[in-house]
């Protein structure tokens, strides 16, 4: 360490002295032309390789850039093959011809702490560029990535804020988060993804294999997502872009409940099912029949059973309708509660940006406003996001800049309750006065609360303000060495003020309540990067060294108070008015640190054989008791086989084999999880003399300490093949991988005798294997019509290889020891040799049918109850009868994307995807939730003697005391998006001095097909809204 520091100081000092004498910098001018028609090409990026210096060609294709002798200029533009030129002493004026190409191999891909052409990569990296999602108007990063990258699974969200979970290449962790690491403009991003405006994003690169991710060592086990934001370009004049969209979200698939008319029939069936097997009541099921429709032979008097009054009153009261429901039933006043709590939600998003270049300064400034309603009443998400990216070429050897992001999220929404399945359609929204909300729609709080009641008496402010900035300086040193320093402060402030009004019937009993919470977090990171690039003959060497440190500090305090006097009309603004006895306060301050050292060497021979070697050492205070640091190595090789003479062909125009191995870490645990915290709460005693009460703090050791805690590590071997057929007509890649995760961070379940149910520990070994396949085809390319197609396919299998290393004896039928095997963790349902997500449970055979009364009785059940498989036939269902029954995670995923351009200006695209071969619980089939005799229920089919189904039980079925779940296959195919865009022809725009104008329309979540799944969206296992969006993009 000392040596590195010395070297660094030395180099920086040397740089300051040498720089004056070192002046081989020169200005190079030139023109970039198309090789087909020799016309100048606008907007070609001209970049000094391995330095952040670049410019863009003007309308004629002319450019001017300063560079040093020995450096390489890279010319790249969408639609053309890139070209590299080495500057020698003679270079002053260049004419560069670029070949038209749709070859994705020339795209520049962001790798950790640098970038590379896709052609030169040794790792598996998937990229998405801004143009790809321009017409789809994603509202957050998750929307961009969902399905655009094979191997990356992104979940869905029903909230106004949107988002979704991420998982790269399967689940390789038993406890910690599977969220990948986010790297924003080259710096590890510790903020919230919703604070990054998708409109500011230029491109996203997903590092999936260990080798490429290992550059980020300790936090890279779940992959790395690199987000690059837009920067100013040399466009001749400042460009103002304005884009705006407005849309509607529609609730879909929230699960229908019994409507007004179905409700009474269902209740009648419920009461019959309840009484059918009770010897004292089973002969009187007619009691629950409609008095106007009695079974033959039953007189109204028998039916009355001694009860007086209107038959309708008696009947409805027998069905459990409360007086209010009966009144409403007679008046025909029903409520569809879904209409009350779900809504068509308005969504709007407006962005403006200014970018360009002035002298040596490039700038990109943007401001965005996003205001989305959710499909649940009350759900809303608002955010204002601002970005400033500035690069300044101070001298030919120094460049400085700042990337700054400000965001303010408003999450003050108080949503309506959504468990409408408990509310009778014959309840009332209001009290008798017709305006005051009714606390319980059926005057029975145990049965149902009004889903709109609590929010009407809640006043909330919840906002989060974040500022994330990176200040950087790049210094060009002699001999191809460059030094870069990034300082990245991140500030996060959260305010939560909540007032529960005393006007609320229940909250009034304690005089209203106010909660106030403040949290501030401040994180800084420092990256020192030294790079060296050197080319001699056919050898290209690139070396990178990183020294990094990070510190997180947080301060939080909270206050809660009740019993306001004289009243709580001031809401959360005057907590001093609360009763002093009721004050409750707390604070939670946090502190954690990390550091890192990394070295990487990229080597290429003849641009045909590539190798990468890297080693990273990470430190983290969460493991600081014994094992604060760990090493993460990687090796990767690439071989462009199509450049070999013996393999050259006109069909396979490009082919590259990649082989990589690397180790990644996972440190996503609580920063104090290794420690044994003592919880404090209060307990009252009474003075022996006076009898007066007083409180003492009670101290309670909450968790077992584990000072040996260390990193979880994943080793991954990746074999990849990239190919291009007929110069990009068809290109794609196949990756095979096998990863092994060791020292898993787990909540290891303990025998309860330990008095702790679990301890955070490093144990076990998990293996993930998979295949990812991507294919892109430029199917047609005509003057007035083009058709591009993309397809990807992912399969991943995981397996627990080892858990805690406890061996048990294997016995044969005679009880002789025949060997040893490792013990499973049965309480956690983790089995050696099985997948983490395997389902191990009693097998449901169907439903006991009429005629099987005796067999059912053996299990304490009746016809209509679910029948479980008694494997050993001993009359008891226990763990001996459990079976493996499939998986909770999709076994296959595929995604298909089709893009069409008609008449140059009309763009149409759609995207569909599938997740196949997985199951989830569908316990609604048990028809036994809640207290149905008082509540409503999801409209689920049920068994009756007349409907002897095997898929659903009778209403209110008995389980025979065995805990079990009903599993259904969730496999589905979704038509995810349709988008349509019209680009106004340039010749019209020129007349009004517009640079570009585009209108677009898209639908997200158009529909899906899931043959075995019902009621909810299979992916969300609940509601997943459909969004219609219309928008305009305008540039001046």
């Amino acid at each position: 360490m000392k040596r590195i520091r010395l070297l660094l100081y030395g180099m920086l000092a040397a740089m300051l002295f040498i720089q004056a004498a070192y002046a081989q910098t020169k200005t190079i001018t030139g023109k970039v032309l198309s090789s087909t028609d020799s016309l100048g090409i606008t907007g070609v990026t001209v970049r000094v390789k391995d330095r952040n210096q670049q410019t863009v060609t003007d309308n004629e294709g002319d450019f001017s850039i300063t560079a040093n002798v020995g450096e390489t200029l890279v010319f790249s533009s969408i639609g053309f093959g890139a070209k590299e030129i080495v500057i020698n002493n003679e270079t002053t004026q260049l004419n560069i011809f670029l070949d038209a190409s749709s070859d994705r191999l020339d795209e520049v891909v962001v790798i950790g702490y640098g970038e590379q052409r896709r052609r030169d990569l040794t790792g598996a990296i998937a990229s998405v560029s801004a143009e790809q999602f321009e017409n789809e108007r994603p509202q957050n990063i998750a929307d961009i990535l969902r399905n655009n990258t094979p191997g990356l699974a992104v979940g869905v969200s029903s909230s106004a804020q949107g988002g979704g979970s991420f998982e790269i290449r399967g689940n390789n962790s038993l406890r910690t988060s599977t969220d990948p690491l986010i790297v924003l403009d080259g710096v590890i991003y510790v903020g919230n993804l919703s604070d990054i405006n998708p409109n500011d994003v230029e491109s996203i690169d997903v590092m999936k294999d260990a080798s490429s991710a290992a550059i980020y060592g300790a936090r890279s086990a779940n992959g790395v997502i690199q987000i690059t934001t837009k920067r100013g370009k040399d466009s001749g004049k400042p460009i103002i872009s304005f884009n705006s969209s407005i849309g509607v979200a529609q609730p879909t698939r929230y699960g229908k409940v019994y409507g007004a008319d179905e409700f009474v029939n269902w209740r009648s069936d419920l009461m019959k099912s309840l009484n059918y097997y009770n010897p004292t009541t089973k002969d009187k099921l007619y009691l629950y029949d409609d008095p106007n429709d009695l079974p033959s032979g039953v007189t109204l008097d028998e039916w009355r059973g001694g009860l007086a009054g209107e038959p309708l009153d008696i009947w409805l009261s027998r069905l459990g309708l409360r007086p209010l429901e009966i009144e409403n039933y007679k008046a025909g006043k029903s409520i569809d509660w879904a209409d009350m709590i779900y809504q068509q939600a308005l969504r709007q998003d407006h962005n403006v940006s200014l970018s360009g270049r002035a002298n040596a300064l490039t700038y990109f400034v943007s401001l965005g406003y996003n205001n989305n309603e959710g499909v649940v009443v009350g759900d809303q998400f608002k955010t204002i996001r601002n970005r400033i990216n500035i690069d300044a070429d101070v001298t030919s050897w120094l460049k400085v800049g700042i990337n700054s992001q400000f965001a303010r999220r408003d999450e003050s929404n108080v949503n309506a309750g959504t468990n409408i399945q408990v509310i009778s359609p014959w309840g009332s929204m209001y009290e008798d006065d017709g305006t005051t909300l009714r606390l319980s729609p059926v005057d029975d709080l145990v049965a149902a609360r009004n889903p709109l009641y609590d929010r009407a008496f809640t006043d909330r402010l919840l906002d989060i303000t974040t500022i994330t900035s990176t200040l950087f300086a790049q210094v060009q040193l002699p001999f191809g060495i460059s030094y870069q320093a990034n300082y990245t402060p991140h500030f996060n402030m959260r305010r939560y003020f909540n007032h529960q009004s005393s006007e609320h019937q229940e909250w009034g009993l304690f005089g209203g309540q106010v909660d106030r919470e403040h949290t501030e977090n401040f994180t800084w990171q420092l990256d020192n990067l030294i790079k060296w690039s050197h080319r001699f003959n056919n050898h290209q060497l690139d070396a990178t060294v990183l020294i990094n440190a990070e510190k997180v500090q947080g301060w939080g305090d909270n206050l809660s108070v009740q019993e306001f006097a004289p009243s709580d009309v001031l809401g959360y603004h005057n907590v001093g008015a609360g009763g002093s006895d009721t004050r409750n306060m707390g604070s939670d301050d946090i502190y954690s640190t990390r550091d890192a050292l990394m070295g990487r060497l990229n080597y290429a021979f003849k641009d045909r054989y590539m190798a990468t070697v890297a080693l990273r050492r990470d430190g983290f205070s969460a493991f600081g008791m014994r094992n604060p640091r760990a090493y993460f190595p990687t090796v990767a090789l690439g071989w462009v086989i199509s450049d070999e003479r013996f393999l050259q062909s006109n069909i396979l125009t490009y082919g590259k084999l990649r082989l990589s191995w690397g180790e990644n870490g996972n440190s996503a645990i609580g920063i104090y999880d290794a420690l044994s915290p003592i919880g404090i709460s209060q307990y009252p005693y009474y003075s022996l003399e006076t009898g007066n009460p007083y409180e003492v703090n009670r101290m309670f050791v909450e968790r077992m300490a584990n000072h040996e805690l260390k990193w979880e590590r994943t080793q991954q071997l990746n074999l990849g093949f990239d190919f291009s057929i007929k110069e990009g007509l068809l290109d794609g890649s196949i990756d095979l991988y096998r990863s092994t995760t060791l020292d898993l961070l787990v909540d290891r379940s303990l025998p309860l005798i330990n008095s702790y149910a679990s301890v955070t520990d490093n144990l076990g070994k998990i293996e993930n294997r998979g295949i990812e396949f991507t294919l892109n085809a430029a199917i047609l390319k005509r003057e007035n019509f083009s058709w591009n197609s993309g397809f990807n396919f992912t399969v991943n299998r995981n397996k627990i290889v080892s858990l805690y290393g406890n061996m048990e004896e294997v016995l044969d039928d005679e009880g002789n020891v025949t060997g040893q095997r490792e013990s499973d963790d049965i309480p956690n349902r983790w089995f050696i040799g099985k997948a983490i997500d395997v389902i191990w449970a009693p097998k449901v055979l169907g439903v006991w049918q009429l005629g099987e009364e005796e067999q059912a009785a053996e299990y304490g059940q009746y016809p209509g109850d679910f029948k479980l498989k008694d494997v050993d036939g001993n009359g008891v269902i226990n763990q001996e009868d459990y079976e493996f029954q499939g998986y909770r995670e999709p076994q296959f995923r595929w995604n298909l994307r089709q893009e069409f351009v008609f008449f140059k200006n009309l763009e149409f695209a759609f995207n569909m995807y599938a997740q196949l071969g997985y199951k989830a619980t569908f316990n609604r089939a048990k028809n036994s939730d809640g207290f149905p005799e008082r509540q409503n229920a999801f409209a689920t089919e049920y068994w009756t003697p007349e409907n002897p189904t095997n898929r659903y039980s009778r209403l209110y079925a008995l389980t025979g005391g065995v805990p079990f779940d009903i599993y259904r296959n969730k496999s589905f195919v979704r038509l995810d998006r349709i988008s349509l865009a019209y680009r106004f022809p340039q010749r019209y725009l020129d007349t009004v001095n517009l640079k570009s104008l585009k209108l677009f329309f898209n639908i997200q979540n158009v529909g899906f097909w899931a043959p075995d799944w019902e009621q909810t969206d299979p992916q969300a296992e609940g509601l997943y809204p459909r969004n219609y969006t219309f928008g305009v993009n305008l540039s001046l």
Partner: protein, 631 residues
């Protein structure tokens, strides 16, 4: 303009570059600092920084006390599991298919043993070991720093009391269990079951130390010397050492500190709602006052040995009892099972603030603990018994029809409830959960913060001197001295204004159990005590109803099962509950199953399963001595 811009740019460039470069140099040393990565817990205590003062030991002891409270308080408290498999009550909830009527189906090692709507056997074993952790934190820390020896031994004695409490319950709920004697600080998977007698013997030693050092002069809610002696008596009984039991009980009774409350004291009970006030009913007698929440902790109350506390005026520590919700019948039940007037109208309303406000006077019960015939009728042998006096003990017939729709239009409004109409037709369907009497004097606690009260913040007795008398009575009976037993039982009876028993030949274990039922309902862990008595029968060979028992056949023939078959009509008659479940229990349920998850997770040792349950065949002989490393 352009020049200006240039100057500004230059300035920005200068500042940015200056800032970045100086920061870069400043920060480099961080990466190499040896202490940079040290964990720094700012807002959390750890054993290293917290357990270092005498005060901290008392704070840790409070964790033991709070944990005793958790069994009784809140919705669906784990205490219910003790009642529902006893002679006094059964599971009354039947508006849910998964409840607990059928022990054969529900009480299995792999069944759901952690269900508020069923049984909470898992809670009992889990929390016992969690309580042992709390006690061991104190026991381990007591010698780690200098302190006065008297205080040290008194603190240690209190911790021993808590440890013995947990093992007393464990060994009578589960029989032989693994013994732990220290705070476990690193994971262990090699536990072995230790014999029940071995554990109890160690507890006896500890409590003999505790009664020497723990004081009676401690604030209410802390364990007292009297509580230690009381618990020691139970353990002496469990070990079959009746002379020691008599001696330890006598030390508490004759110690001069505690006395049965024989005269009214403290304040007169006054319920919310208007049932009592509008009828001019005042419940004022010694039993009503003894159990009134405000009188439990006052200095005049000499009967309490150990109690748990919850005080309405201290919101940080208060929790609600919710005893009314659990134990009061579901008189306000709606739907098909509601209570009708004799002329066939819905009769009851649980809305607060109505003209006849029953819900605030009694609470909105959900009828989870319907009594057996034994508890509801057979035990009440004296009409003067204050514990069964009208309005202390509520009968359904003392309630009145209060449905607002009846007001003014129906002759039954405000009239007492009837179970049957003139034709003998029963006016409610669910006579298990909706229709039974209950000890209002014990279960009622004002609940001002709940619209439909469930039982608010109030204290609860854990050990009272009345039980000490009954424990000594039991010891005398086991010893064959029924006359002495009768004297002790009469102490408790006469306080409740019952006539004393006079014929010692009539005194047997049933007399003791019935007196316990009258006096200690919702206080004693009934099933634990029944199992203790079953163990003593098996150990002593003493006959009951002409039948003797032995330890070797404990699972197939025991007093617990026979007594339940005699006294619990639900289990005996296989009553079918409203949800179609049959009440059923087996002789092996005298001990609860060890949850399978616990056995499965203990991969390096064998935790024995109890007789009658799956997995019993895998047992190994239990340890006959406490392992040295646990001492």
């Amino acid at each position: 303009m352009i020049t200006d811009m240039k100057t500004i740019y230059k300035k920005i460039k200068f500042v940015v570059w200056g800032a970045v470069s100086s920061l870069a140099f400043l920060m480099i040393p961080y990466g190499c600092n040896k202490t940079f990565l040290n964990p720094n817990p700012l807002s959390i205590f750890t054993p290293e920084n917290a357990m270092t003062t005498v005060a901290s030991l008392y704070n840790a002891l409070a964790a033991c006390d709070i944990q005793i409270r958790e069994e009784i308080y809140g919705d669906a408290p784990p205490y219910l599991t003790e009642l529902m498999f006893s002679d006094l009550c059964v599971e009354g909830m039947n508006d849910n298919p998964g409840t607990n009527q059928n022990a054969t189906l529900m009480v299995t090692p792999t069944g759901n043993l952690n269900n508020g709507n069923g049984n909470q056997i898992l809670w009992h074993i889990e929390n016992a070991y969690r309580g042992l952790r709390n006690a061991h934190v104190v026991i381990d820390a007591v010698n780690s720093f200098e302190m006065d020896e008297t205080e040290r031994n008194s603190i240690l004695g209190m911790a021993y009391f808590h440890r013995a409490m947990r093992y007393y319950r464990l060994t009578h709920q589960f029989g032989d269990v693994p013994y732990v004697g220290k705070h476990i600080v690193s994971p262990r998977l090699d536990f072995q079951t230790t014999r029940r007698e071995v554990i109890l013997r160690k507890m006896k030693e500890d409590l003999e130390f505790a009664v020497q050092w723990v004081s009676d002069n401690v604030d209410k809610g802390r364990p007292t010397k009297g509580a230690c002696g009381h618990l020691l008596t139970k353990i002496n009984l469990a070990l079959g050492e009746f002379d020691d039991a008599i001696a330890s009980a006598s030390a508490v009774i004759n110690g001069g500190v505690y006395a049965l409350m024989r005269e009214p004291f403290g304040v007169i009970p006054q319920e919310e709602g208007n049932y009592f006030s509008s009828r001019g009913i005042v419940r004022d007698d010694v039993v009503a006052r003894l159990h009134w929440f405000a009188n439990k902790h006052i200095p005049e109350n000499k009967e309490v040995l150990y109690m748990v506390n919850s005080e309405e005026s201290l919101p940080s520590s208060r929790v609600n009892l919710q005893t009314m919700r659990q134990a009061v019948p579901f008189w306000s039940k709606t739907a098909a099972k509601q209570i009708y007037t004799p002329d066939g109208r819905p009769g009851m309303s649980d809305q607060a603030g109505r003209e006849i406000d029953l819900v605030r006077s009694f609470g909105r019960g959900i009828g989870r603990t319907p009594p057996t015939v034994y508890h509801a009728f057979e035990i009440w042998d004296d009409p003067n018994d204050l514990r069964h006096k009208q309005y202390n003990w509520m009968r359904m017939e003392d309630l009145v029809y209060n449905h607002p729709d009846l007001n003014g239009s129906n002759p039954y409004y405000g009239k007492p409830l009837q179970l049957r109409d003139e034709d003998g037709r029963v006016l409610t369907t669910d006579t298990i959960g909706n229709w039974y009497g209950w000890p209002h004097y014990k279960l009622y606690t004002p609940d001002p913060r709940t619209v439909q009260p469930r039982g608010g913040a109030g204290d609860w007795y854990i050990f009272r001197l009345a039980e000490t008398y009954l424990l000594r009575a039991e010891a005398y009976w086991w010893k064959g001295q029924p006359d002495q037993a009768m004297v002790d039982i009469n102490e408790v009876r006469t306080r409740a204004h019952c006539a004393p028993y006079t014929d010692a030949n009539q005194i047997d274990i049933g007399t003791v159990l019935s007196e316990r039922a009258r006096e200690l309902y919702w206080e004693e862990p009934r099933r634990t005590e029944l199992t203790r008595i079953a163990f003593i029968f098996a150990q002593t060979g003493k006959a009951f109803n002409g039948k003797t028992y032995s330890s070797s056949t404990f699972g197939t023939a025991n007093f617990y099962y026979d007594w339940l078959m005699e006294k619990n009509n639900f289990f005996r008659d296989h009553v079918v509950a409203f949800n179609g479940q049959t009440y059923e229990i087996q002789s092996y349920h005298v001990l609860w199953p060890i949850p399978q998850s616990m056995i499965d997770a203990n991969t390096l040792g064998v935790i024995n399963q109890n007789f009658g349950y799956d997995g019993y065949a895998d047992n190994v002989p239990p340890l006959d001595a406490i392992p040295a490393e646990e001492l």
